[in-house]
């Protein structure tokens, strides 16, 4: 099964090289490992993240595409749906099946083998556009997003500047 997942990832990587998604560039962290991708996401215009160059890592499990990859921001990130260690928490990246502990998320919103890297990246960009504070990963960020938008903006701008410096 390993070859099968690798084959699929190669195909998706080529496809994204040929027809890139707006605001995103993809590559491998280490050319010998197709399961570990490095992503650069540009903050979408008109959002708080505008102007930022956010680096992230997308790590695929051996049983991809039946299980989803994990995505972690390497650049500093302040967002309700991103843990403080950079791990992205959105429903599409959650393993398929019901979760008794999480009523907000139906099985249909979760990972399905039909989905690919493109779908994930689109979801991440839409997450930057529109944070979901219903089930936050970073509670402090979510609180600030809800209660003190100015402070939230300031903190995000810091992240944007840092990401620019690091680039």
């Amino acid at each position: 099964m390993t070859d099968y997942g690798a084959e699929l990832l190669k195909r998706q990587l080529n496809e994204l090289a040929k027809n890139p998604i707006d605001l995103v560039s993809v590559g491998l962290t280490d050319d010998s490992n197709i399961y570990d991708w490095e992503i650069l996401i540009m903050g979408p215009d008109g959002t708080l993240y505008e102007g930022g160059f956010f680096k992230a890592r997308l790590v695929f499990p051996p049983d991809f595409p039946n299980m989803p990859p994990t995505m972690t921001f390497l650049s500093p990130m302040w967002h309700p749906n991103v843990y403080e260690d950079g791990k992205v928490c959105i429903s599409i990246l959650h393993p398929p099946g019901e979760d008794a502990m999480n009523a907000q998320e139906s099985a249909e919103e979760r990972w399905r083998p039909i989905l690919g890297v493109e779908a994930i990246l689109m979801s991440v960009i839409s997450m930057l556009n529109d944070p979901n504070d219903e089930s936050p990963a970073n509670i402090d960020a979510a609180k600030q997003w809800r209660g003190d938008r100015e402070a939230f903006k300031k903190r995000v701008r810091q992240c944007v500047r840092k990401s620019q410096e690091e680039c």
Binding site: M1, Y4, E7, L8, R11, Q12, E15, D63, P65, N66, M67, P96, G97, E98, A107, E108, R112, P113, I114, L115, G116, A119
Partner: protein, 545 residues
Amino acid sequence: MSSDEYNASDEEYEYEYTDDEDQDVTMTTTHNDEGEEEEDSKPPASDEKKSGSNKRMSSGSARENPQGAPVGVFDFGDGSSIRMLPASELKPIMANQIKEVVDVLDIPPSAASILMREHKWAKERLFQAFFDNPDKVQEKCGVKARCSGSSSIGGADKVAKTSGKNRATRSSSKRKHCEICMDDDGFESDEMICMPCGHEFCELCWYGFISNALEKGPLCVRESCPQAGCNELVTEEEVKQAAPDLLPKFESYQLRSFVETYGMTRWCPGAGCEQVAVARGATADGGGIAHCEKCTTSFCLKCGEEPHAPVTCRDLTLWQDKCRNESETANWILANTKPCPKCHRRIEKNQGCNHMTCSGCKFEFCWICMGDWTQHGANTGGYYKCNKYDPNSADDNDQSDAARARRELDRYLHYYKRYHGHSEAQEFAKKSLKETEARMVALQEQNVDSTWTDVEFLKTANEQLVQCRQVLKYTYAFAFYLQDNEKRQRFEFHQEMLEKFTENLTELSEKPLHEMNRTEVVNQTRVVDKFMANILKYVDDGMED
């Protein structure tokens, strides 16, 4: 087993299980099922089939519900309430349930199985919901497409035709495209497997998808279509096509789910045991104790715990939750060893009796209250007084929250300590039950002309002890939740008697073999059994005098 009243019911069960008439009913039902299963592959609802099932209804059992569905499957016909079956024997029962739904609703068996599961195998509830709003039920349970087509291929065609654009290429001779692996070469039609919802993927992707789903365990029976946003469920039909080698595993998960959601069945909790307890009558909620002959486990049918009379399932859960939450505190206070009250040497209790003698200073004391054992004599009027919680011993006058909390903790610890003590003693008794046979052999050799029956009293006594410890253990959980003071006092009287005689019997049966007094042990066993029956009856009778 030694007791009379307590075991009378055991014998009753055993007798009833082997009842000939009972066997007949089961055999007939099973046989019919097999006969009809072969017909299952044909489209349902032919006239011939209907008459077939009618025949079975009338021959299977005299009892029929108004809708004409047989209730005979679990009618043991002999008044017994619980029986144990190997899991494999439940397959025909499950198949039979599914078949009835197939007949009534005219849907494929794979969909019927899901609908029943989602309605906890309550046929009437399903029928009612289904006739009320079939679309809603099918949609909710993820079988909508499956129910609207007569077979998976037909269903696929239907959707392909109606859903237009994406599927336009399907009907052409062009090679098909798998959206999971996006293989550039595409696939022939026979290399693709299609869900009733019209979503099709290549064989290789399907295999990976299904084996991955099965690795997730029991939840695999709720796996939905690989397509994002599609809630049509994957069934044995797809597994059969895509991964026939994994079908037995999938079916075993289906059966497992049946046993777990069907109201009248419960897995034997014995480690690795594949037996299932099946209740007669309404539901397993009716309670009762199941005895598994295979692994000799006894358990409560309602909650699956070991038999826990006199405490109710509900209070038992509360109690266990409480014990779990407070176990840190309790464990800290109840370390495995206790210091001798006199010389403070740490003492480990490695036998069941509460009458301790310190090996250092020879001081005799009670393990429960750590008081002088001589104080436990009848002459002081305080024989085994340590089973009673005396709130007056705590400081009652202090009404501060802290003091109240401490009193409540004291009250809990009082019961927990004793619950825990008997629980440990029960384990000791179980352990020594295993060693009893060796003791019996030794005892027989000691007296030249004694027979095996002459030494069997040792085993009987030991089994009695295991039971008594179990009941005693739960009397403390029961008493913890007993609000009524007067009732509690009377209950504690019964408890005290049982406890006292259980300690006596423990001590007698643990004596060195050359001091063993058969008559004494036999008598004590009988007496203890009487007290055990008394306390259980007292609770059963609603604790009225």
